[in-house]
Amino acid sequence: MNEPQINLKTTVLDDGLGLISAAGYINNEGGQAVADAASELVGGGCNSLVIDLDGTRIINSIGVSILLEIMEKIMEGDGKLAFCNLTPTIAKTFEIMGLDQYAGIFPDREAAVTSFAIDGTT
């Protein structure tokens, strides 16, 4: 569960909706890698993102701080950010640090993507 390197995969799911799959340790380096992937998707026209953390078992507060910065940039562009496949500990960490107040938290990728379709955000 403690791989130091993070594995990322990015996909454009639909017009304006990007997906980042992140598996590994979200620390300063892992968080920055996610931020770079988010910037690339936003630069490519995605104003909303789903970040799928399936395969991520451990995080630290520095990594979550970087995720908070991604959230702020997405919100500045009137987009939305959603997370899915969180472990209970990661979900609790997001709650403690307030990330869940501004980003959607969903049990799986399908639910996260569907929320954007219902929302009409993308």
Binding site: M1, N2, P4, Y25, N27, R57, I58, I59, N60, S61, I62, V64, S65, L68, E69, E72, T87, P88, T89, I90, K92, T93, E95, I96, M97, G98, L99, Q101, Y102
Partner: protein, 137 residues
């Protein structure tokens, strides 16, 4: 059963400590959620020790018998020390729009663990925390 790690302050060494929690937690019958909560709390304590504590620090993991039995996790460093009472719990409402998003370590430790005691003076800081072993034999 006790694990003692003398760790250098090098990048990602906190994952060595987290791996030890995983191994000991499984041996003690701790459930996956418990192991992950202890791992994240320990990672934060290790990061604090590396940031404020100097070139190395010590991690001790042990089972404490009792009702319920618990895993005890200690992180000890030889840094300049700090006043834990001067670090009140963070407020999640401060996050959005706030320039500094750092400084959540102690809050996460306190929230993720069942009990936390911190003693600190110049040259020796010890963060001691406990998690119940709900599924322990």
């Amino acid at each position: 059963m006790e694990v003692v790690l003398h760790l250098p302050a090098v990048p990602n060494v906190e994952l060595v400590a987290a791996k030890a929690v995983e191994t000991l937690g499984e041996a003690l019958g701790m459930d996956r959620d418990g192991i992950e909560a202890v791992s994240v709390a320990l990672v934060e304590a290790c990061l604090n020790a590396m940031e404020h504590g100097g070139s190395s620090f010590i991690v001790r993991l042990a089972k404490e018998s009792g009702k319920p039995s618990r895993m005890r996790v200690e992180v000890e460093d030889q840094g300049r020390g700090f006043d834990p009472d001067a670090c009140p719990p963070d407020d999640s409402t401060r996050v959005h729009g706030c320039v500094s998003k750092r400084g959540w370590g102690l809050t996460l430790i306190r929230e993720l663990m069942d009990d936390v005691q911190i003693s600190s003076k110049p040259g020796k800081t010890r963060v001691c925390m406990w998690k119940e072993l709900e599924n322990a034999p």
